[in-house]
Amino acid sequence: MKIKSVLFTLLLVTLMLTFSSAFAESTTITDILGREITLEVPPELVVLTGKKTATIIEAPFMFAYGKDHVATSWGGQDGGKFNALIEKTTPEITDGSVEAVAAMQPNMIILKSYTREDAGLAFEETGIPVMYLSFETIEDYHTDIANLGKAFGEEERADEILAYYDEIVNRVAENSAQIADRKKTLLVQFSETDGVYALKVPPVSWLQTEIVEMAGGDPVWKDIGLNANSWSEVNFEQIAAWDPEVILVVNYFADPKVSVETLKSEPGWDMLTAVKEGQIYPFGKDLLSWDSASPRWGLGLLWTQQTLYPELADDIDLDAEIMKFYQWFGLSDEVIQANLIDVYHAEPELVP
């Protein structure tokens, strides 16, 4: 009798193992590049890898599923500090090569959209479904978040996330509608590596330009036109010629508050209208800058509007917004306060 029941249990287990895959739902998703991929939802393991992952690497963790099933590398402009805050159980990927990733036997691989020709095709050769994400524009966000929701079996969550962004966009748009005279605004990236610094403006097609426009500013670099794919260097003369009313200084690798102080002490800067009137600001940043196409762009949009038009946007409570945003990643209030809100407000460490 005992043996019989053991045998029966074994048989049952075998059958379940054999057919379990049949119970999982097979779904077809059209990714941002228009490719159709079919996979069983939810997949057991997803690997996000490749190059240029800065904007796509965090979005999977806005879903509950990501923490236990999505493996990524941890590096980034903050040296992996933000990634370390997320409580996840998946291993860190240190070797993102095709062979190493294939050896992990993931059920899906996620790559950045414009790396397909350079790297993606090799990953596709493995036969493992590859989904590309873009996260470069607000429109891309709608497609990409919805696709992640489908792939992870969390479509409702995807709708909630998109509703969160839509609410911010609508709120900001309502405020902007009241603006009669748009402020001439310059957003520059301050990058210092070799003892000298360079100032660069983003391409017109990038999210930074969209953010400034949505927030009610008039981006002075709209006529830059030349380079659609990367930051373009501009010199001081050009900035003086634009003579913006507001200057927003982005720094991805160091404290933009320090960069603002550096610029103010450079020859000629004290004669710019924006600097004379105290309208030069370090772009909002906690561990990472809010201006880029990372999920923080909602914060970036709110911050920009409040900075450009404080009188219109006095209803925006930025600390509360930061708290609300990072809760999508399942972070506790204490962690958010200590590691992100306090960092945003921190005094710059100025070198005398």
Binding site: A198, L226, S232, E233, V234, P267, G268, M271
Partner: protein, 331 residues
Amino acid sequence: MKRLNQFTPNQKILGLAFLLVAAFAVSCLAGRFPLPGLQSPVQLFSSPLNQTILVHIRLPRVIISMLLGMALSVSGLVFQTILNNPMVEPGFLGVSQGAAFGAALAIVAFNGKSSQIQLLAFLFGIAGLGFSILLANRFHFGHWVMRLVLAGIAVSALFSSGLGILKYLADREEKLQSLSFWLLGGTSGVSWDSLIPIIAPILIAFTILLLLRWRLNLLSLDDETALSISVNLKIERLIFLFCAVLVTSLCISICGLISWIGLIVPHIARKIFGANTHFTVPASMLIGGILMLICDDLARVLFPAEIPLGVITAILGTILFLPIMTNKTIR
């Protein structure tokens, strides 16, 4: 161009000097502020902002562009003459790639300040030349010049692969963007602080080259005959190469790799003045200065965004290259 024959070489040098001064003056007037294009001299001093832009933004940049053009051209001439080969430029013999590697090493590995970058660029520029000469002595075939050029190619390749590794490492920390701009070359980041330390050594090297300029001719002769007319080959070659490497690597440390000028300008100088280095040394400096000023003016004035200087010199170089190579008599 036959009209040029009416003038003596000294008159032509004087003419070029005048052109350089004119190019310098025009460069000081050209900019994006307040409107793209040329300002009137009166306007230059019309407001404090205008003055600041002239003194702190344009002037250091105009000076470094001029020095850069002069340095690359005269060292190109020195290399061509000493190697008795009109097709070489400072990029041969591992100098440019060595200096570039040194500067990149300072940026990536040590997060270097500008003084460290200059020092490492110079040291590796010299090292590039040193390696090339050492390697050339190890080759057991061919003429000295051929061995040296071959060794230079090998050493350049070595340093550029080293540079590739540095770029790869830098990419992980995302320093790549500024590094690659730097490799394309440019003068946009130049301030008085970075310019002042290199002015004196460059001017000293220029002076030495100008004083010894006629003797450079003798180094283009075969070793045997040069020796028979009292040339101290080792020492005189060393003096010329040292000065050429010094000015090249100092400029590379600030401006990055700029191609073509070092190759093309000595040819233009020879087309106008003939081969005599008594004239082509100053002529290369003047023509190089003029051309680089024009290139840099285009880089900073043409569009709101900077165009990498290396791109412009490459375009200009290619445009000039064909007519110069095919037209035999300008002189």
